[in-house]
């Protein structure tokens, strides 16, 4: 997913051309935007995969709804990919497959070894963001 998002962003050129492969140009601003989006999305996906597994409880109805929202969101981001030309059907199929939180405390399994992966992933995302902000953007 990380590289797909970067590739999607490279399709619309923006800024200085840093590499030309045939008729395709890789531009600096598009590449930076792609890396920034990919890093942020990776962080968000890990957050949503793990938020319903943590023991943190937000009080009240709003807390339950936020917990359940992330629970359903993590199911929507998993499984089959959405095809843009079939957006309605694919989205509908994903919605039909949603399992409620109450029935699935054990259904949402953490990614294999995800508790061990949280720290490395956070570190990678932080380093990437730091690099973008402090090194690449200053050039």
């Amino acid at each position: 997913m990380y590289f797909t998002v970067i590739a999607i962003n490279l399709v619309s050129p923006n800024g200085l051309v840093i590499l030309k492969i045939g008729s395709f140009s890789i531009t600096k601003d598009s590449l930076l935007k792609g890396i920034e989006k990919s890093s942020l999305l990776t962080g968000i996906l890990y957050l949503s995969k793990n938020i319903s597994l943590t023991k943190i409880k937000i009080p009240g109805n709003l807390g339950i709804i936020i917990r359940d929202t992330f629970h359903y969101f993590s199911q929507l981001t998993g499984g089959d990919r959405i095809r843009p030309q079939n957006l309605i059907e694919d989205l509908d199929n994903k919605l039909l497959e949603l399992k409620p939180f109450s029935s699935s405390d054990s259904l949402i399994k953490p990614l294999a070894g995800s508790s061990k992966m949280v720290l490395p992933v956070c570190t990678i995302v932080t380093i990437t963001m730091f690099t973008i902000d402090n090194i690449l953007l200053s050039t």
Partner: protein, 175 residues
């Protein structure tokens, strides 16, 4: 024991909230040729909720959608979040009132366009307040893009409501 295949209203709000987050994610991935132009895909669940949720639940969904979208775009701790939240709350209220007052005399496309335009007008006002008078010059292109995206989203919502088996399943449970 309660059957787990029958979602409660709370589940329905959370499902719509998750759908808004998911659509925000899709929209976030798509590169934008012009920065302020948004498709507004995350408003699809808000339009679906118009006739299916009570006022309090509907406002809760708008709040969940705004917080989630801001988390995804990484703007939760910036003034952009306030800018977006104010737009969402006003457009949500306008759409809700239009739907309640005019009922069957206004189509989903009309509601969607009104929501997009009211959201844009609030955002332009907030931008003028924060950035000064210069911000009003971006008003016209924003309103034009709002009209187009509202129209397209209205069409998309109609198609989704017509085709969605998930929504039909939820409706048959709620009635």
């Amino acid at each position: 024991m309660k059957s787990t295949s029958y979602p409660t209203n709370r589940d329905f709000i959370a499902m719509l909230g998750a759908m808004a987050l998911f659509l925000s994610l899709i929209e976030y991935i798509i590169p934008k040729p012009i920065p302020f132009i948004k498709l507004g895909l995350a408003n699809l669940p808000v339009l679906i909720a118009l006739t299916r949720l009570k006022t309090k639940e509907y406002l809760l969904l708008i709040l969940v959608k705004s917080i989630g979208s801001a988390l995804i775009s990484g703007t939760i701790f910036s003034w952009i979040f306030l800018y977006s939240l104010s737009g969402s709350l006003v457009s949500g209220t306008v759409m809700y009132l239009l739907n309640r007052v005019l009922k069957n005399s206004v189509s989903m496309i009309g509601i969607s366009v009104s929501g997009a335009l009211s959201s844009n007008m609030v955002q332009i006002s907030v931008a003028v307040l924060i950035l000064g008078n210069g911000a009003k010059y971006i008003g016209v292109p924003i309103l034009i893009s709002g009209f187009i995206s509202g129209f397209l989203l209205g069409l998309f919502t109609n198609k989704f409501i017509e085709k969605s088996k998930w929504l039909r399943g939820i409706q048959s449970i709620q009635h």
